[in-house]
Amino acid sequence: MTNFNQDLFSVVTTIFEKHDQQIRHHAVEPWPDQVWDQLRETGFTAIGRDAALEDHAALAKAIGQHAVALPLVDVGLARWIADLAGLEVPADAVVVCAGVRPLEGRIEADRVVVSGTASRVPWGRHADLLVVPVEIDGTTRWAIVERAGLDLRESVNFASEPRDTLRFDDLVVPMSAVGTGGPSVRDVRARGALLRTASGLGAMEFVLDTSLTYAEQRVQFGRPISGFQTVQHHLVLIAEAVASVASAVDAAVSAPPELRLMTVAAAKVMLGEQAAILTRLAHQVHGAIGAAEEHPLQPRTRRLWSWQDEFGTTTDWAIDLADQLVFPESPGAWPAMTPPLDALASREVGEVVPW
């Protein structure tokens, strides 16, 4: 991935490197207060629409590379939505997006009453505020609500990152907390998918590096296992996985706005396809030690197994991409895959609001 903010990546990486990570399996990853404070002090937790997509992607990649159990990416996504919908979020607040499926809202006097369930909300239990999509009179609008007081069922993903379910039981929201305009739910889901893919890429780069290091250090039959051709081929397939996902993320981040969703769909599919190959082979190269709780490989592979499903599974996005590109007026498969193409203009292959 080259079209992203390398400087920003280096700065935030320095913060993560200082943080001496305790690599252990936890039922729930503990919240590293110190790192969050540093991110907040440097302003990384307050960026939204003011930062470019390249910046958000750089932070996402750094989070993935260092397996940092903090909602930096999700807060960036939620702030971007809030900014576009004209909603105020205090600079210090932890805010996340609660779901990409609209809740029900009905207007009562000058308030909106919200009901429904937002499932698998990233870091829900740590959030001060939630940005939620609410269907009001046939229109989806974004509202900002306090998390405290909501019914919350805790759960996690494979990497023990919080993914909680929140129930809205006729929650009363003042009109001032309901935005106008903003991104479509589809836009948000796609943007979330792209940022997860960027994080996944960071994790994959780490996995490649640690696999190469291990293969060169581990001696069996009197020589480093990197000398065995079979192991070399595993390492090559791991590198190919990284290179192809990097290319797909790069294409999506730098895509013209009118092709954004098409390239994001392709990137998320590539993550699912290639992370599956990479994780299997990286564990194979590492042997038993890679499956040990204290090994730095597993926080990355466990994240990859979850991230490939979040904000739409590989299959969801494959179907979405087919729906974008297969249609009766299409001049053919190849022209559809290689836009610009006039016939694609009505196919929802681009972003609705500026990313």
Partner: protein, 384 residues
Amino acid sequence: MITFPSSQLTSAELALRDEVRAFMAEYLARGHRRQLGINAEPSIEFSREIARRGWIGMSVPVEYGGHGRTAVDRFVVVEEMLAVGAPISAHWVGDRQTAQMLLRFGTEEQKHAFLPRIVASDVFFCLGMSEPGSGSDLASVRTRATRTEGGWILNGQKVWTSGAQYADYVVTLCRTEPLGERKHVGLSQLMVDLKAEGVTVAPIRLLNGAHHFNEVFFDNVFVPDEMLLGRPGDGWHQVTSELAHERSGPDRFLSVMPIVQVLYDEYKTRDLDPGTRNQLGRLFAMYMTFRSMSLSIARRLDAGELPAVEAALVKDMGTQFENRAVQVIRSLLNREIDPAAGELDELLADAIITAPTFTLRGGTNEVLRTVIAKDLMRTRGNVA
């Protein structure tokens, strides 16, 4: 550092694309059948026709009769042609490799003598690389040329030489110095007239019955001095430095695109079930990604780089993917394929039967992976 920066086609490149796309639509409308990539039967008429349109030797400078365009322009032309199954075989080697090789290593006389004729599809080349005892271990070739008055005497045998039955010259990798301690030293490339005395061409039919490949025998063939490419002893360097051109092209992932297009045309008016859309979407994502990677290599060639490792990577991934695409199409059709039952089945049958060669031709994937692995160890896995 292994990297594939993505880019969009410029408006000039898009204009070229539209021109080629329109021409190919018209060409197919004339009743020509679609074929699979470099499996295609050679058509000298087609090669001449597109030469007249300026689509061969595009990056050859104007002073050598070329069009002074870019590697990306060539990429655009080639991908459009492969996507619809154009018969590109006849000019393929000359356009992709020999012209580049002559530009980089040829003498002024050689450039002036051959480049304008390649550009015009007036002369066709083939590659004399493999031998019965030398496949992946190419530097072990035993075909040898010995010095004589005004030239060389060539003896030996080449195998898997595609197009030797109609090409004019075979670019022959041979030993011009006795084998010393290092086998990569003392090799040269001779451009051998296939009609010269002592040259015999014998066909090798492929498992689908097609005749692309040949054995070429050299029995005391006289090759004049001016037909030695560049400098004597430079052969290995010449062969390996063109790999970025040879390995990265759209031919490495688009072989079965004509089948996808035929199937797509059937599907596009139907309601497709989620399983089918899932399979199609995955194919699309991979086509888009490999195309982006391949294009990025063409851009880097234009910037004067020779990204050979990236090219090997694209070829390894692209040719594996072509095999997967064949499997996906078979599972979508879910029936016996009848090679005599129309375009889709005919093309698919050809793809199924020849798919094993996708990961062999132009360097086996195993050799490619060894190349990539060496680079990974050297650069400590710098992939971005």
